[in-house]
């Protein structure tokens, strides 16, 4: 596994907050040359620590006023293929994330919609039509906060 030093950790934290800044700016902050900064970021990417870059958009300003987390229990387990369910649910554009979990539910979905009426449409026409979808539990997201996590 990759070992991180103090500078790697700071770099990672800075990139998790804002990956749009250039390597020159980042390097100056941590006392590194631009090539050295670039090499460190490259190493974090190659080790899979930085798995992707994500554009942060203001969902509400783009007309998506509602985010709902859905717990989905599969009906008739054993008779349906998990791959089929996962493929079908991932293809729904309003479904932002799909997590396979163990516990009260089998899958946890993050669904975005324009408003509650739009959410109902997605729920009835797309989610409930999925192969194997059984019990559902919906929780409407009120607030969300991402923490830096145990770096450093």
């Amino acid at each position: 596994m990759i070992e991180l030093d103090e500078i790697d950790r700071k770099l990672l934290q800075a990139l998790a907050r804002d990956a749009g800044q250039g390597t020159a700016v980042l390097g100056r902050r941590f006392g590194l040359s631009q090539p050295a900064t670039w090499r460190r970021i490259r190493r974090l990417e190659q080790a899979g620590v930085i798995q992707a870059r994500r554009l942060r958009l203001n969902a509400e300003a783009l007309g998506f006023g509602v985010t709902v987390f859905l717990g989905v229990k599969l009906a008739r387990k054993g008779q349906i293929s998990l791959e089929d369910f996962e493929r079908a649910v991932s293809a729904i554009p309003e479904v932002q994330t799909v997590e396979h979990v163990l516990g009260l539910y089998d899958y946890r979905l993050r669904v975005v919609a324009r408003d509650l009426a739009d959410f109902e449409r997605v729920l009835r026409r797309r989610i409930m039509a999925l192969p194997g979808a059984g019990d559902l539990e919906a929780n409407v997201l009120l607030s969300e906060e991402r923490r830096p996590g145990p770096i450093g």
Binding site: G20, Q96, N139
Partner: protein
Amino acid sequence: MLDDVDRRLLRLWQADPTMPVAELAERAQLSPSRCARRLERMQADNVLLGIEAVIDWTALGYAVEVSLRVTLDKTQSRAFEEFIQAAREVPEVLEIQTFLGRVDVRLSVIARDMAQYQQIYRDRILTLPHIADIEALMHISRIKSDEMLPI
């Protein structure tokens, strides 16, 4: 207000945020300067908030991820504030979300292994204030995680 060109830009960039602005402009059939102006305007209008690096915690040795669904004791008027404030102090907590529904607050917690998870759960989570009930969902795999908006 956003027009169709703005939306196209966001759609394209969202699909590949590592794309340089010059390439984005070309794909959206805009000149680089007009493309940059539109991006700047959307940044100023708080539509485009930035780019973030997504950390894969499993690559850093955090093999366990648990979703904790917490019901709070709502007879306490400051239950939410005090719980959230205390949860922020736990470094292994990655996400804090509040909900309207059966669940009040959800915490996403990571740990290196089950032994460490158990320790965090006992020492740091169960000691958080105003918990009435708590349910755990163990994370198995992430099937889709791009968090794209259907613009």
